[in-house]
Amino acid sequence: MKLKRVLMEMISSLRSNKMRTGLTMLGIVIGVAAVISMLSIGQGAQNSITSSINSIGTNLLFLSAGSRPSFGGGGGFNFSRNIRSLTMADAQALMDPYQAPAIQAVAPVLQGDINVAANGQTTSTTVYGVTTPYFSIRNETVSEGAIFNDQQVNTHARVAIIGIDVATTLWGQTSGLVGKTVLLNSQTFTIIGTLTSKGGTSFGSADNQIIIPLTTARDRVIMRTGSNVESIYIQATSANTTTEASTQISNIMRLRHHVAVGKEDFTVTNQADLLSTASSITGILSAFLGGIAAISLLVGGIGIMNIMLVSVAERTREIGLRKAVGARNRDILTQFLAESSFLSLLGGVMGIVLGWLISLIIGKVATALGTALNPAVSLNAILLATIFSIAVGLFFGIYPARRAASLEPVEALRSE
């Protein structure tokens, strides 16, 4: 039997019961749409987390005071944390090229949420007091003006580099701000640069910040006793030496703070570890969501099988007639398989479109709610869904089709 004839028979058969065809297909449409949207949302979450971690830098390590906080980060609720502040001396010690050869650069940071006023506007933002290595370690660059230099740090200069979100809030513009003044904690600072935008991340906007010299911050903005700092950023010599760097930091800090292994009063966070943890979590999440969605596709497949069985039963006489006029078993098999595969293929294509729309809408909603989630419908997901839906059609179609093909012509003709 010619392919064209098979296709024509198939279409006329499916058209003869449009309601049933539509509902059967709906099962596959929903299943595939669920798979596509879940996978794309998982992929989007993974992309978003990976890019925000990458924007921090993969050879970056982060040293903070206190033992590792309980998961969820609410450090203040964990009273058993050992806390001993980090100091400038700690930062200095980590620079030792003999004890810490894997460390490239060190940047101690003071940070605090401060009220900012300028141009008659007031807002709140995070102010970072840093030394010059901070800029290269955090990949911070300026789109306008300049960063401050060591001399400005040493002279406690009252200069500030502002993020574009702050600039937008205060002035409604992101350029032409160099030379203007801004009040931080009622202290006047001169703007010398505008930070290059890093875009929003899942951890909050990197553009909503102001960077000033560490010395000035300690004097005038973020009051701290002694030479304490909030945290220390450390850059490893390369992305491959972060583990060594982490070990070296721990060794140096244990010595300086006189604590044993397991009793640390500090925490070293390795971005590479964070990245792999985050991506394995999102990977599990995607697999989990995709798995649940796949179950609905399976249910859709069972729907196809059910309908095909009904169809075979209804058309027993037709099958008998076809056999009487010369249809071979494989002609009948082809006819029914064509119907079930076409149902699932068309359902799959519609499901891909629907799933793509769903993920688009979820992305818009998430963006509107302030979460930077950009669902990515990957070619792999589309291929997977297409192949899977055809496979579902064939798998669940083969039993009814075989049943039809193996009918005895005499008995089939006699059926009512």
Binding site: M1, K2, R5, S12, S13, R15, S16, R317, E318, G320, L321, R322, K323, A324, V325, G326, A327, R328, N329, R330, D331, E408, P409, V410, L413
Partner: protein
């Protein structure tokens, strides 16, 4: 020269219904020459439907030998039987057995689409419909046709592959007597004009009487064969 289209010897057919064996045919032998028209009569349960199924290659005999138009049928596979049905036999059923969702033309084309020369099926189907007088009904669906017209579509379908034998199983059973007579006239005219062997199973003595011979079957054997 008279050649033999059907040569059946000692056909038996045993159905198993659970524990019980039913003997539908008990060593039936039959010979039919090309161009003959035969009416097969017999009470229900006599085995005439079983005989028709076996002669039509829709079923296999339990034992016995059957040669159809020079081809040994015993021992063929399902696909080979399908091919023989396609090439050599045209069936006409009491209930017409047309596909409701397609046109008369599509219905007639169906056997061509299963043959080994499926091209040109459209034209051949149209010719067959013309031969049964339905050239103005080609695009109609069966539901838009009268019973007589539907049976004529079925006859066109039976003829489209130019078979050696037409087998009609109660072809007038669902028709009024006028339409029924038209169908019989049509079948007899093809038998005459094209030398196509015609087998009609019927209860109706008036229809049977129009065939050249009447063969009576009872209890799985031929009770009466006037030839």
């Amino acid at each position: 020269m008279e050649d033999t289209v059907i040569q059946a010897d000692g056909l038996t057919k045993v159905y198993r219904m659970g524990e019980v064996e039913v003997q539908a045919l008990r060593g039936l032998s039959l010979q039919v020459k090309r161009g003959e028209s035969l009416a097969i009569m017999g009470p229900s349960g006599s085995g005439k439907s079983t005989l028709m199924s076996i002669l039509g290659c829709l079923d296999r005999p339990t034992s016995g030998n059957y040669v159809l138009d020079g081809e040994q049928v015993s021992g063929l596979t399902d696909d080979q039987l399908a091919s023989i049905r396609n090439r050599k036999i045209g069936f006409i059923f009491q209930a017409f057995n047309l596909l409701q969702r397609t046109s008369a033309l599509d219905n007639v084309e169906l056997p061509v689409s299963y043959s080994d020369r499926p091209n040109d099926g459209r034209n051949r189907a149209a010719e067959a419909l013309k031969a049964v007088g339905l050239e103005n009904r080609m695009k109609h669906r069966p539901s838009e046709l009268s019973g007589g017209e539907q049976q004529r579509v079925a006859i066109a379908r039976a003829l489209v592959n130019e078979p050696a034998i037409l087998m009609a199983d109660e072809p007038t059973g669902n028709l009024d007597s006028k339409a029924g007579q038209e169908i019989i006239d049509l079948l007899l005219s093809f038998n005459r004009d094209r030398n196509t062997t015609l087998l009609i199973i019927t209860h109706d003595p008036r229809i049977a009487g129009q065939a050249q011979h009447i063969i009576k079957i009872r209890d799985g054997v031929i009770e009466e064969d006037p030839r």
